[in-house]
Amino acid sequence: MGSILGSQKFREIFFQALVLSVVAALLVAMVMNTRASLEAQSLTTGFGFLERSTGWDFSFSVLPYSISDSYSKTILIGFLNTLLLGFLGISLATVIGIVIGLIRTSKNALFSLLGTVYVEIFRNVPLILQAIFWYAIVSHLPRPKAALSLGDTVFLSGRGLYFPVLNIALWSVALMILLFVAWLLFLPWLRERMNHSSSYHVTKRVGWLLLPVIMVVIAYLARTPDTPLINNPALKGLNFKGGMRMPPELSALVIAIALYGGAYIGEVVRAGLMSVPRGQLEAGFVNGLKPRHIFTRIRLPLAIRAVLPSLTNQYVQLMKATTIGIVVGFSDLFMIISTSINQSGQTLELLAILMGGFLLINLSIAFVMNTINKKIALKGYELKS
């Protein structure tokens, strides 16, 4: 008996079992307590409320909506709004980040100082402060009557940015995006299949020419009857009619996320460019490549491989940062969920949906980026400086 109790193995197993049962007991206690407090407040659990109509309004939606829509549709709209905000913010942040990264790696000291000043300013002030700052600026723009206009088609006012759109059905836009993505995914497969032959290049070229034609046909077929193809915004009374509106909440958040994320991504890009061993560049130079080609053929491809993991990390961080949209009243997933909690009282279910939504988005980003990372990784040996 003594030998069993004294043995290392037994103690380890006993200890782990103990910890596991304590954790399990805590979880059970929490669930019981939740049950009890829900019953005390006579709240029902379950996802049945998702079919009820909400009865409240919110600020922005990519889909047409009304206050009689169900909770599930409203939450879906919030999810799409978060995706839209994240997509716009992250894309712009990437563009800014690349530019800043290039500026900061410049040999010209004054030029690279420009990038440093940018990074230090935008990285050291909280994103949420930047968001409300830009919101204050954007919403204090002139009234619609005195809007800044660009060729009488794009208008910038305190009510938002108005720009022309095509008068076509929503499904066709989705179809076009789908078609484009499918074509991009189809190309690598085709290249494998046709073994890089010249007929592959012909097919590729024909495809690129055919794609816009098909899209124009789809747009023509899907246009709303009896309307002009292009829907221009125009001043009617006190506000604009027609066109598409980007509300000040969304603009402010996109600006804030783009500038803030740009500073972080700029640092990632700089680190990537600096990580390319100097010998690689010198080898290119010795082989007589032009500086331009040394950059595009050697430095950039190696830098992209080096930065992808940290870039994925930044994208996930920025996606999580979109939740601050609520400070300026942008109806993203978080705001929709928190309003739903106030209105319906289904706290636990809604919170589970919120967490599930973010898990889905973040895992998708990680999956896509890791796939790209694997696809472009250098095969054979690892490149180390």
Binding site: L20, N33, F111, L114, P126, I128, F133, L351, M355, F358
Partner: protein, 359 residues
């Protein structure tokens, strides 16, 4: 044998360096000129706006309409709201002294002399206690001021300090737990860390503020402020634990084995061999996490606390001050910038210093 004399790089004079970095090619010359002009313009514009054409005193506010520069009158008139929130007016000195003490504590913990477990914990316990006693009162004849009335910079600093003081020991536990040899422990801690890292901070703070009353029995709930701080500390600890774990992983295996051979117990190996080296290895990223955390304290404004961002918005919220939002935002931005920039410069300094020590 090969010749092993080392050639030092040729000495380059300062003017030569300057020429190389600014005027190497005609294009560089052009670029330098443009950048210099841009910097001069921005600097001139900013100095003119902030210092020359600006209005400074609260009673000069009527002049602001004419002035082309900043209207700092709003800061002059409302700075007490920004710094102290709803803290009782007569007791503002307490809030000020408390902030100074806490900032001194933060600065002192950047000095290497304090970098032992005992000194650092003593420093923070003393600093934090003084801060809390000054803010909360109830002893030494100080009147009691409950946390609902705390606000402004003091609340920001309180949240930051409390999150650090709870989160740091927790992060060590999490990091050690995740590296445990016992599979169940390692999995449990790993799950816990990954769960907190996968969620936005705001959802965690929101859960802590709104959901915890359902989940925990009444006697465990505490004030909303403490719930939010605890949620924040868990989030912080999950991230910090990963930094520490990276530092632990970088330690050569032989170090721990040497301790084992000498017959040291687990806790001795952890406290004398592993942790000191782990902290040394990942000090820059640990400091960086503090930098991020200081910025993220601003998020508590969404769950309804009156920290410096919210009190700033309140400062221009009424009457004639509503038009001066830019000045207030720039002022608060500058306060954050001073804290965050100095902390991150310190982190960069550490990184350089440690790198030199390594090679």
């Amino acid at each position: 044998m090969t010749d092993t004399t080392y050639h030092l790089p040729p000495q380059i004079s300062f003017s030569q360096k300057l020429k190389n970095s600014l005027f190497a090619t005609p294009f560089d010359f052009f670029l330098t000129l443009i950048c210099a002009a841009l910097f001069a313009l921005l600097l001139y514009w900013f100095i003119d706006w902030a210092f020359i054409s600006s209005i400074w005193r609260a009673e000069d506010e009527p002049l602001c309409k004419e002035a082309s520069g900043a209207c700092w009158s709003v800061i002059d008139a409302r700075h007490r709201i920004i710094f102290f929130g709803l803290f009782p007016f007569e007791e503002h000195w307490r809030s000020t002294v408390a902030c100074v003490v806490m900032i001194a504590t933060i600065v002192a913990s950047c000095v290497p002399w304090f970098w032992t477990a005992i000194r650092l914990s003593a420093l923070w316990l003393i600093g934090f206690s003084i801060f809390y006693i000054l803010m909360h009162g109830g002893v030494f004849g100080l009147s009691v001021i409950t946390p609902e009335r705390w606000g402004g910079l003091a609340l920001t600093i309180f949240i930051f300090a409390a999150v650090s003081i709870i989160g740091m020991p927790l992060s060590i536990v999490l990091a050690l737990g995740r590296r445990s040899k016992l599979p169940v422990i390692a999995k449990l801690f790993g799950l816990f860390i990954d769960f907190f890292r996968s969620l936005p901070l705001l959802t965690i703070l929101f859960t802590a503020a709104v959901i915890t009353p359902f989940v925990l029995p009444g006697w465990l709930q505490g004030d909303k402020l403490y719930r939010v701080i605890f949620g924040f500390a868990l989030f912080f600890a999950a991230y910090q634990a990963e930094n520490i774990r990276a530092g632990l992983q970088a330690i050569p295996l032989g170090q721990d084995e040497a301790g084992l051979t000498l017959g040291l117990k687990y806790w001795h190996r952890v406290s004398r061999i592993q942790l000191p080296q782990a902290f040394r290895n990942s000090l820059p990223s640990i400091v960086n996490q503090f930098v991020i955390t200081f910025k993220e304290t601003s998020i508590v404004t969404i769950v309804g606390f009156f920290e410096i961002l919210a009190s700033g918005s309140a400062a221009f919220g009424t009457g004639k001050w509503t038009v001066h939002y830019i000045e207030v935002y720039v002022f608060i931005g500058a306060i954050y910038f001073i804290f965050v920039f100095s902390l991150s410069r310190y982190g960069a300094y550490l990184e350089r210093k440690l790198r030199v020590g390594h090679v």
